[in-house]
Symmetry: C2
Subunit: 175 residues, 2 copies
DNA sequence: GTAAAATATGCACATAGTTGCATAATGAAA
DNA sequence: TTTCATTATGCAACTATGTGCATATTTTAC
């Protein structure tokens, strides 16, 4: 359901074509729910089939038609009921942790390389977060609550990533 | 691949029946990679089909046969190469964050209830972690590195959960 | 004694996500 | 001028996971 929810959120303010939606998605919600362009196009078509979206085809000369999707009343209701229903707890999936359960068979070199690369990924992510914060949230107190809400998610992302970095460094040091 | 990896890890030390494996899995790796019993039985059968496991059927009088699975050489190699290959970055999937991107449409009452329930879940998880720590890792320094490794994952789980709790409480206070 | 939970196995269908490929125009770089 | 990136759309096949159901015995609780 969550890809669907993400698309409902994206289309809630204004209609758009698949590509529009893809661009808006990449600017924000992709940090929350990753999906490929194929998945988006397919899901938009299914949502139209389920009556959550209408699709207006704008023919273009010598190009594929542009398809403008917009929320229907059913789509708006689906979004509202998704927002109102509490989410189910999401399953834990940490493949890296699994390797810790096979410690003896995990070669030391591979382990060290993997943890070092992982730490670099995390630090890269912190850099990305910092850039987003500078660009969009330089003065969070000046924003409306609705504008500030995504900033909260960013801050949690930062803190979780910092927690990860601290842990990786500890684990790397220890052995 | 990760369910498969988890089963390879579980079977690496000693062979076992589906139900054995399920019990061992529930004692540890389920905190790392969740799966249902149906999934385990199905995956064990597929792994046998792929030559990673052998399956010896022990007939029992007036009961379904017990099937003892054990790693083959190919299975051991598959585990070793999984351990050696660095993992791909796992996609971000935070449906709760998505709700923050629809702040205006998220009714305040639903929001408050959801965050409060979520905080309770997190605190419950901390209680579970503390119980596991008491039972299995009361003196981590006395353990071998291989025995201590799962303890590291537990500690990260604790710290991440604490970070979440702090964040949820801040967000709940703010509005 | 009867009802229930636990032991023990698994199939079938549905949903979600990944990967590879296909098409076709435009604009920019080499 | 050919090649590469970007814009713009999507199908098909595959893999992974979740949900509901089915079966049959043994043990425990009321």
């Amino acid at each position: 359901m969550s890809l669907r929810a993400v698309l409902l959120i994206t289309l809630q303010r204004e209609p758009g074509t698949g590509y529009d939606i893809l661009q808006r998605f990449k600017a924000g919600l992709v940090h929350v729910w990753q999906a490929s362009h194929q998945q988006l196009y397919r899901e938009l078509d299914r949502m139209r089939g389920d009556g959550l979206l209408t699709c207006e085809t704008l023919p273009q000369a010598e190009r594929p038609d542009r398809k403008v999707y917009r929320l229907t009343e059913a789509g708006r209701k689906a979004l509202d009921s998704w927002l109102t229903e509490p989410l189910a707890a999401s399953p834990v999936r940490q493949p890296l942790f699994a390797k810790f359960f096979a410690w003896e068979r995990w070669p030391e070199q591979a382990r060290h390389e993997e943890l070092a690369a992982f730490r670099e990924q995390l630090k890269q992510r912190l850099t990305t977060y910092a850039a987003i914060e500078r660009e969009w949230f330089s003065n969070p107190q000046a924003l409306t609550p609705a504008q500030r809400a995504p900033w909260h998610t960013l801050r949690l992302g930062q803190r979780l990533t910092e927690t990860w970095v601290g842990w990786v460094e500890e684990v790397m040091e220890e052995e």
